[in-house]
């Protein structure tokens, strides 16, 4: 990230990664029509366009359909345990600022079993990009209501319809201290998904991208009204946010100019119920990052370890000849 231009150019000439450099030898095992496929494609496009070295790229995930994504990326992947993708990713990043860290998680993984980590990851604000694949249902365990399922959702655990209002990942995230980047994308507008991921990647801090994602198996038709009617999509634009291509602009005419530093409006947009906002809701690059705050002034060296151990031992040493150094403390 700190390479100078000439080094960067050299690397471009030497390697020049193409899309297939980010595709693993495993074919995705998602269902036909699954929105995760669009997210994977956007990720791979991003890596290529940013020319990220696959060996310097780490995709961390938890458990669920979303969390299979690292298997399909040719990068270092860490398919962990349910709900814990974020603390694992934080550990990866804490001493390795040279690594590009992505987290892919789902609505169950992030907003239910991993909710504590989600809140605190926002607060730590470490340099990483978090993709919340939100299909509003548990898929891999075969259709149970998730915290983001709409009220009345019928599922195997709510056969008569769920009774609780869904949790809104956008308003929750925006409410956490140190939040620095919140965006929303949808799998059925791939160009904007890509543009949003790109903004997220370039943000210094934790960028949280909620991606509404279709599950054709268990939530068929959930987003049909929005997919068919572009006017129900509210596209957020700004000089510091998304800038739309003429093609996108022609189809998605319901646009709002929104300053990503305007938290009040971001919260209002996040709470919109009858439309789906897409774009950068909040972006404050000035929020300090935990990995920077904890980076320390100097790297650990054997000499440093020896010195500190000597100082600490001196404080508690009993010298045999009573020749205790006077300035030991």
């Amino acid at each position: 990230m700190t390479e100078n231009l000439s080094q960067c150019m050299m690397r471009m000439v030497e390697t020049d990664y193409v899309l297939s450099d980010y595709q693993s030898d495993i074919a995705p095992r998602w269902c036909v029509g699954c929105g995760d496929t669009a997210i994977l494609t956007a990720m791979q496009r991003l890596c290529r366009d940013e020319q990220l070295a696959p060996e310097k790229t780490v995709c961390v995930s938890g458990i669920g359909c979303s969390s299979r994504l690292p298997h399909y990326m040719n990068a270092y992947g860490f398919h962990g345990i349910h709900g814990r993708a974020l603390p694992i990713a934080e550990g990866v990043k804490i001493r390795r600022p040279d690594l590009n860290v992505f987290v892919t998680t789902g609505d169950g993984d992030c907003c239910s079993i991993g909710a504590a980590h989600w809140i605190h990851a926002i607060r730590y604000n470490m340099n990483m990009t978090v993709l919340l694949h939100d299909n509003q249902i548990y898929g891999l365990t075969k259709k149970q209501a998730s915290p983001t399922s709409p009220i009345g959702q019928k599922s195997n655990t709510t056969p008569f319809g769920s009774v609780l209002l869904p949790l809104n990942p956008l308003t929750v995230t925006l409410g956490v201290a140190n939040v620095s980047f919140v965006a929303q994308a949808v799998d059925w507008i791939p160009d904007l998904l890509y543009d949003i991921l790109k903004k997220a990647y370039h943000h210094r801090g934790l960028s949280f991208v909620r991606i509404l994602q279709r599950c054709p198996e268990f939530m068929d038709h959930r987003f049909d009204d929005f997919v068919r009617d572009p006017s129900k999509m509210r596209i957020l634009t700004h000089g510091n946010g998304l800038r739309l291509s003429p093609e996108v602009s022609r189809v998605y005419k319901n646009q709002e100019t929104h300053d990503p530093l305007d938290m009040g409006r971001a919260l209002a947009i996040a709470a919109i119920a009858d439309e789906i906002p897409v774009g950068i809701l909040y972006n404050d690059p000035s929020v300090p990052c935990y990995d920077d705050l904890r980076a320390g002034e100097r790297p650990s060296t054997p000499a440093l370890v020896e010195t500190v151990l000597r100082e600490e031992f001196d404080k508690v040493t009993i010298w045999p000849d009573d020749a205790e150094p006077v300035a030991a403390e």
Partner: protein, 633 residues
């Protein structure tokens, strides 16, 4: 080194205006007990430090209530310190206390009720309660003093507060230094060393504060010399070796620094946390990080992430935290990520006894996770061991790509003991993170059939890209559910433990090579068991002990050793069903952890003795248990 051997009989004397010649003792156990916040702990620690610097053998034990500010004058709120003071080295807290300083009668009752004070022992009581304005308090004090006098304790009423108020406006803050001076006088500890210790305590503060406290110290000593017929000397011999004095948790923290680990992820929990407190104060100086995570699970996951990225990490916890981390530990096992976990055990289950000792986590450490999850489990048995074990653990973790657990306990956590000052070696440290290119045909789980070890690929290594997973996987780290592939993974992860096992050596026996009874122990009971063995052998009983460092895997040869003894019994600070209970039979009896492990491995009828009373096992209790077992009561 029996405690009784060092006990001198002191005839009551009229108050002597001049210092009397000191009665020479081999050892004495001293306790200072107060309400929380009155400074008894600092007084005790300082007394221990002065004694250690004088060349005495010491072992200190903290007496800690679970609350920050428990009610004043309450039995449950007793806070303080025990110091076992001896001429030679000591390895445990010993038996009952010989001399107790109590700041009120309620905290004294807590120690009396627990059976921690020797019958006929010396008790120095703060006397101000006798004239307390609250008639109930005054009556309670008088009743307890009368009662313990009647029970044969030697009670001295000391006007601590009255004397302190002559020097300082707030006696509650200065009383502990007065008591420290009194104790230094009683035990003939050097005045200069005592004053230097006070200067050390208040080193960062104003000279006026140091001077005021030294004044209190001197007043305590003068008062004791003028008013008490107690004057002892526990001859000290300064070690020819350069030594350091610290408690177990501090030694663990320094061990983390010395091991070359750069990341410690933790969540606050008693009694482990003081390790992280100390580490937090020094770790950044060496360019490293203590991360206080949002919970125990996150702490473990964070450490796993750091280890995965090439920086072997440590997570520090106690019982409940160990339970919470189990799923993440399984991930580290399955994905073969090195990790060091330090568990400072406390009484359980559930929240249990947060500040008290128990060896209750051995089974949870070895078998706590679901599925077959081989991990290395080692136990520390001395303060010095705390330091070096972390270095060893990191090396094993990174050599075998395994989880290595270190079991300490609440007693070792706060016990202070001198040991030889370690000499730094670069060999302690972790090598730099490997970032070299991986051969193109190499696989991330290319298990070596001889050892089960696979060379792991670390992010940043070109050509090493793969997706690590907690799912069953093949050599290429591809998710695989085939029976053969699953079995291959199980076999190799287990094989690593066997490979490590071949390198282990059995610790030496304490006592003789054969005999009537072999005692088996692990962890913080080492000192008490070996002291008991010494006493029993002096009585002519052929008793020996074997103390295990590695519990999983265990060194070869334990079976051979056991064959050379008529009886084998484990001594553990954890629960076992007593056969005296009418419901308990040899068929339904639940054994102590190590006994159960060894019974299943060696098919030997190993008995067990111990308890889970939240107190360290006492040498005298072990002696009595062995005598009973051998029919020599």
């Amino acid at each position: 080194m029996g405690n009784t051997a060092g006990q001198a009989i002191i005839e009551p004397q009229p108050r002597a205006p001049q210092p009397r010649p000191a009665v020479v003792l081999k050892e004495h156990i001293i306790e200072i007990i107060s309400d929380s916040g009155e400074g008894a702990q600092r007084c005790g620690q300082s007394f221990g430090a002065i004694a250690a610097r004088s060349g005495n053998g010491i072992w200190t034990v903290e007496i800690i209530p679970a609350e920050i500010q428990p009610p004043h004058r309450s039995v449950a709120g007793a806070s303080g310190n025990r110091i076992r003071l001896a001429s030679g080295p000591v390895s445990n807290g010993g038996n009952e206390a010989d001399l107790v300083v109590a700041f009120n009668e309620q905290v004294l009752l807590s120690r009396l009720n627990a059976g921690e004070i020797k019958p006929g022992g010396i008790i120095l009581m703060e006397s101000k309660w006798r004239t307390d304005r609250n008639a109930g308090i005054a009556a309670s004090y008088a009743r307890v003093v009368d009662d313990i006098r009647a029970r044969g304790f030697r009670v001295y009423e000391v006007p601590m507060e009255v004397e302190c108020l002559k020097l300082v406006p707030d006696a509650r803050k200065g009383k502990n230094m007065f008591v420290l001076g009194m104790l230094c006088g009683i035990y003939s500890l050097d005045e200069g060393l005592a004053q230097a210790q006070v200067a050390r305590i208040f080193g960062k503060k104003d000279q006026k504060i140091i001077d005021a406290n030294i004044e209190l110290l001197n007043a305590g000593r003068a008062w004791a010399e003028a008013n008490l017929d107690l004057h002892f000397s526990v001859p000290a011999k300064r070690s020819t070796q350069t030594q350091v004095v610290m408690n177990g948790n501090a030694a663990l923290a320094l061990g983390v620094v010395a091991s070359g680990m750069e990341v410690c992820a933790m969540y606050p929990i008693t009694p482990a946390t003081s390790t992280s407190h100390y580490l937090s104060s020094i770790f950044e100086k060496v360019g490293c990080v203590v991360h206080q995570a949002e919970d125990e699970i996150a702490a473990c996951a964070f450490a796993i992430g750091a280890s995965y990225a090439g920086k072997c990490a440590v997570t520090v916890t106690s019982g409940p935290g160990l339970s919470l981390k189990q799923e993440a530990l399984g991930l580290a096992v399955m994905a073969e990520i090195p990790l060091v976990l330090i568990d400072v055990q406390r009484g359980g289950p559930s929240t249990g006894l947060p500040t008290k000792v128990e060896q209750g986590d051995l089974m949870a450490a070895i078998f706590g996770g679901h599925g077959d999850a081989p991990k290395v489990v080692m136990a520390v048995s001395t303060i010095e061991d705390c330091f070096y074990s972390v270095i060893t653990a990191r090396k094993i973790a990174e050599t075998f790509n395994m989880v290595v657990m270190i079991l300490s306990d609440a007693s070792l956590a706060t016990a202070q003991q001198p040991f030889a000052r370690p000499t730094f070696s670069e060999d302690w440290l972790a090598p730099p993170v490997n970032q070299s290119a991986v051969p193109l045909d190499a696989k991330p789980y290319d298990w070596d059939p001889r050892t089960g070890i696979a060379t792991r690929f670390i992010p940043g290594q070109p050509n090493g890209m793969h997706c690590l997973t907690g799912l069953a996987h093949d050599r290429g780290s591809h998710v695989a559910y085939d029976p053969e592939i699953n079995e291959e993974g199980l076999l190799n992860r287990s094989r690593k433990l066997a490979a490590l096992q071949t390198t282990l050596r059995l610790p030496p026996l304490c006592g003789g090579d054969s005999g009537e009874m072999l005692l088996l122990g692990w962890g913080g009971t080492l000192g008490a068991i070996e002291e008991a063995v010494g006493i029993l052998r002096a009585e002519g009983l052929a008793v020996s002990s074997l103390h295990l460092k590695f519990l999983q895997p265990m060194a070869s040869g334990i079976g051979e050793v056991m064959k050379r003894f008529t009886h084998v019994m484990s001594i553990e600070n954890n629960w076992n069903d007593p056969l005296s209970d009418p419901l308990i039979t040899p068929e339904n009896r639940r054994y102590s952890h190590l006994a159960l492990l060894l019974r299943s491995r060696y098919l030997v009828d190993i008995d067990c003795w111990g308890n889970a009373r939240g107190q360290p096992l006492k040498p005298a209790a072990i002696v009595a248990a062995v005598r009973a077992k051998l029919g020599k009561e």
